[in-house]
């Protein structure tokens, strides 16, 4: 288990296919829904500290890959290892404990909780308070700790002003940020972002890419980002993986993948 990258070292993403001990190793992953094969024997290695863009046309299986990694789907074949530990067979609620956090393609915030509380739910696994402790009012110290951690994250994301508001009334771009803050509160090693820029106004996209780049740089996180926005992926990722109909059709340095004829024909209309 390697921790965050020490400062000043080269991020491993400079070596695109990461021969140096991958954090995530996916082998022959196959996921079928009835007769439909959403993933067909996908292999993927992601090194510690890499920032990988995952692209592909609609229905390519990108979200399904994230669902398999977070155990919302049980693939029929293949293996998934994180830091050498097999993820297959885990119940979904244990995935966070292995260091995986994600955001969802559609907004997945909890509307009945304030923005701060949403982020505090992200830190659920770092808390201890159970029903008895909470009912007897023995949670003040823990609540303060979780609250301070949440406030620090909100500050990073420029969300402090909204801490006490319900997330429902906020602009879409902000809800995407809250979701990332919530995922980070879980303290992941591997962060999976499912179309984080989807639905953003074009003007917001570059700033959002900068935000994710900063997270990657400052926290030494390993990130897989699923995205349709080609400029967004190109600006952000040195390595891009492309899926089409459940097959991996390209994997390599961003510019090479972008100019790959197979990718261009698969993502026609997406790659501009």
């Amino acid at each position: 288990m390697a921790g965050p990258l020490p400062e000043g070292r080269f991020p491993l993403s400079w070596f695109p296919s990461g021969p140096l001990g991958a954090l995530l190793e996916v082998r022959g992953l196959t996921m079928r829904f009835g007769g439909l094969t959403a993933l067909a024997g996908v292999d993927l290695d992601v090194g510690e500290g890499e920032l990988v863009g995952l692209i592909g046309p609609n229905g390519a299986g990108k979200s399904t890959l994230l669902d398999c990694l977070t155990r919302r789907c049980s693939p029929q074949e293949g293996s998934m290892r994180l830091g050498g530990q097999e993820l297959g067979g885990l119940p979904p609620h244990q995935v966070a404990g292995y260091g995986i956090a994600r955001t969802f393609q559609n907004a997945a915030l909890f509307p009945g909780l304030s923005v701060r509380e949403n982020v505090m739910v992200g830190a659920h696994r770092h808390g201890r308070a159970g029903f008895w402790g909470a009912a007897l009012g023995r949670t003040a110290a823990e609540e303060r700790g979780l609250g301070e951690q949440a406030d620090a994250l909100l500050e990073t994301f420029g969300l402090s002003a909204y801490a006490d508001h319900p997330p429902t009334a906020l602009p879409y771009g902000l809800t995407k940020r809250i979701e990332i803050a919530r995922a980070l509160a879980a303290g992941p090693r591997l962060l999976l972002l499912d179309e984080p820029a989807g639905g953003l106004a074009p003007g917001e996209v570059p700033a959002f890419a900068q935000l994710i780049a900063r997270l990657h740089r400052e926290r030494g996180l390993t990130i897989i980002v699923v995205e349709h926005h080609m400029e967004f992926v190109l600006a952000l990722c040195r390595r891009i993986v492309c899926l089409e109909l459940g097959h991996k059709i390209a994997d390599g340095p961003a510019q090479a993948v972008r100019n790959d004829p197979a990718v261009i024909s698969a993502c026609l209309g997406v790659v501009r």
């Binding site: 977070t70 919302r72 119940p91 979904p92 609620h93 244990q94 995935v95 966070a96 404990g97 956090a101 994600r102 969802f104 997945a108 915030l109 909890f110 509307p111 009945g112 909780l113 304030s114 509380e117 505090m120 739910v121 992200g122 659920h124 696994r125 808390g127 201890r128 308070a129 159970g130 029903f131 909470a134 009912a135 007897l136 009012g137 949670t139 823990e142 609540e143 979780l146 420029g158 969300l159 402090s160 002003a161 909204y162 006490d164 508001h165 319900p166 429902t168 009334a169 906020l170 602009p171 771009g173 902000l174 919530r182 995922a183 879980a186 003007g203 917001e204 700033a207």
Partner: protein, 335 residues
């Protein structure tokens, strides 16, 4: 990052944002008002009114519990009338048959209903959806005939009479019972407030509103839901014990499915997922019919039915939501 610059504009909290968080202006003031009223009233009310008020407190405890399942976890229980009955009978049997002192029967009722809630909730909650409603429905249907059958212990269909506790500190019996019940209600309220505002309460809300996201963040659905259901049943059981102290008499026909449905109506009328809701709901389901009764024997049913319809159509957030909206409205007009 333009949106952040605009961030200093305070967005509306409460009614306009449509949130259901227990945001309440003048929280301390309202709590102090309610507390002083609760202490003064028993010395000014006639005995039968005091009895009704005590029952409102008893129902408040049961509704606080039921709301943990219905309001906060988003599941349906048709069995809380039965848990209430189990608590009531536990207390009554211990007092009448075994001479156990009043206060000791409450933990016994709590323990019994907690265990029962755990046992009923554990398998049903894993199956999700309407299964919990079915299992709790079964509990509600089984209890009254079972109580009649175990006549040796429960007094059968005739019920069981419990001697009134001796009033202490120069208080009448009913004033003494009122204060006992008030203390338990206050503790139950404080407990639910602690639950709602910390890790387990947030986890329940998260599981209700987006189960997939909640699980991915490490929240274990089965554990939290079962614990919530067991706690909820325990609150109903404690309320049942308080009922025995208050009414001094229990009979199987007091704890039928009708009671479960009345309690459900109570949490909906009061306002789901709020702390004020159970208090207001208890008033609504007890005081409204009682007052209506004094005008016309047919009035309670009609008035209660109309109230329920009115709430569902006009104030889906219940009386608590309505009151909060009104208070915020006043506050904004003043500002």
């Amino acid at each position: 990052m333009n949106a952040v610059a605009a961030g200093h504009r305070r967005l509306p909290v409460g009614h306009e944002a449509g949130d259901r968080r227990p945001d309440w202006p003048w929280r301390r003031t309202s709590l102090a008002l309610v507390a002083s009223a609760a202490v003064v009233l028993p010395f000014t009310l006639p005995p039968y009114r005091l009895f009704q008020l005590t029952l409102v407190l008893v129902y408040t405890v049961a509704l606080l519990g039921l709301d943990l399942v219905v309001g906060r976890s988003g599941r349906l229980s048709l069995g809380h009338g039965a848990f209430f009955g189990v608590g009531a009978y536990t207390s009554a049997v211990l007092i009448a048959q075994f001479g156990v002192p009043y206060p000791l029967t409450m933990p016994a009722a709590a323990l019994a209903t907690f265990g029962l809630g755990w046992a009923a909730g554990r398998p049903a909650l894993r199956l999700r959806g309407l299964y919990l409603a079915m299992v709790t429905f079964a509990v509600a249907v089984v209890l009254p005939p079972l109580l009649k059958r175990l006549a040796g212990l429960t007094g059968g269909a005739m019920g069981l009479t419990v001697p009134a506790p001796e009033g202490l500190l120069g208080l009448d019996d009913d004033q003494w019972v009122y204060f006992l019940v008030l203390m338990v209600t206050a503790a139950a309220f404080a407990g639910m407030r602690g639950l709602a505002g910390s890790r387990p309460g947030r986890a329940l809300t998260a599981l209700r509103e987006h189960p997939a996201a909640a699980e991915t963040l490490g929240i274990r659905a089965a554990t939290h839901m079962t614990a919530a259901f067991a706690w909820s049943a325990m609150y109903a059981g404690v309320a049942g014990a308080l009922y025995t102290w208050t009414a001094g008499f229990v009979s199987p026909d007091s704890f039928t499915l009708a009671l479960s449905i009345t309690l459900l109506a109570g949490v909906v009328i009061g306002g789901l997922g709020t702390l004020a809701g159970p208090v207001l709901g208890a008033f609504a389901v007890l005081a409204v019919p009682a007052v209506a009764q004094e005008f016309d024997p047919a009035a309670p049913g009609i008035v209660s039915g109309l109230l329920l319809l009115l709430i569902v159509y006009v104030a889906p957030a219940g009386l608590a939501g309505l009151l909060r909206r009104t208070l915020w409205g006043l506050l904004r007009r003043r500002a």
